[in-house]
Symmetry: C2
Subunit: 187 residues, 2 copies
């Protein structure tokens, strides 16, 4: 199970077995059932999560009760409410399981200690943060420049497996269109 993390980290840096076994001790494994919350809007956010298997959604619910999906976190994704996590403030988002999931958790303190002990890991996280930033920018561009249909096609192209795994209602909440509009696009 923890081997998934090793494989993932070694896509970017190389580690000895000893190093990795020490690194892995900064994490702990937790299993969640479909529907369970890892983070609830308004509560503390003690961990950042790494998805070994399963699928999560990061959502923000507005005053009118409408759910907006900031991201789907699949295998090999890091996710949390980063602002709340780093600043120790209350979550502005919720993180919820769409499937039964195996998750590695790391606390803020352990995260800092890990980076101090292993500068290579800081390098690893920098690359992850950078590519996350690039991906967000791409999404902003698609929201600025594409209509609903183009955004939908782009999503299918980038994550073809998603359409099998989540109901269209959720894809709509990710794309920023109504369920009905998305339904009419397909026809």
């Amino acid at each position: 199970m923890i081997q998934e993390l090793k494989r993932h980290i070694e896509e970017i840096i190389t580690l000895t077995d000893d190093e990795f076994s020490s690194i892995s001790s900064y994490f702990f494994l937790q299993k969640f059932k479909k529907g369970e919350f890892l983070i609830r809007q308004g509560t503390n956010v003690p961990y950042t999560y790494f998805v070994i298997s399963g699928l999560l959604k990061l959502i923000s619910t507005d005053e009118s009760g409408k759910e907006h999906i900031l991201s789907f976190a699949m295998e090999d994704w890091w996710e949390t409410d980063y602002l709340a996590f780093y600043t120790k403030t209350k979550a502005k988002m919720s993180l919820q399981c769409l499937e039964d999931s195996d998750i590695l958790c790391i606390s803020l303190e352990n995260y800092h200690n890990l980076c101090s002990a292993y500068p290579l890991m800081e390098h690893f996280f920098l690359q992850k943060a950078t590519s996350g930033h690039i991906a967000s920018q791409q999404r902003i561009l698609s929201l600025l420049s594409s209509d609903a249909k183009e955004r939908y096609e782009g999503l299918l192209k980038r994550y073809p497996s998603l359409i099998q795994r989540v109901p269209k209602t959720l894809l709509a909440a990710y794309l920023g269109v109504s369920r009905e509009t998305l339904s009419r696009l397909s026809s």
Copy 2:
């Protein structure tokens, strides 16, 4: 001039004068006039830029010739086409001066060398990348959940100085609405 960079870095980490003077040698200063391009869509992106003074826009021009603004880079901002910069591919965006600007430039090679020589700087860049990611996520949320008027008011609140510095046409291109719609919001 280079002191702006020192002050900026020291908001996050602390450096001796010697360390900083060595760090600063990885950068060089360049002045740009209003209207000049730091990056042109379709060309190489040899540098990441730090804005000492002035104002830039990071834009993507679509097939129909319409400009979309990914960000305004003001004093103390780091900006480039990150994807093109890190992967040494051609720029998908342009970076252009909205005012005469003083800019520090760092090449990819120097960036890597700087991070290797000064792990503290890697830590600094990690924090910057993280907060950039958080800010992008906030922007995605506002595009998903707010209408044009709310987005405009949010922008004014976050960057009240912008409205003095850039024409409304550009604010519209940032918010993802037409110039005309934005104009009608104010009335």
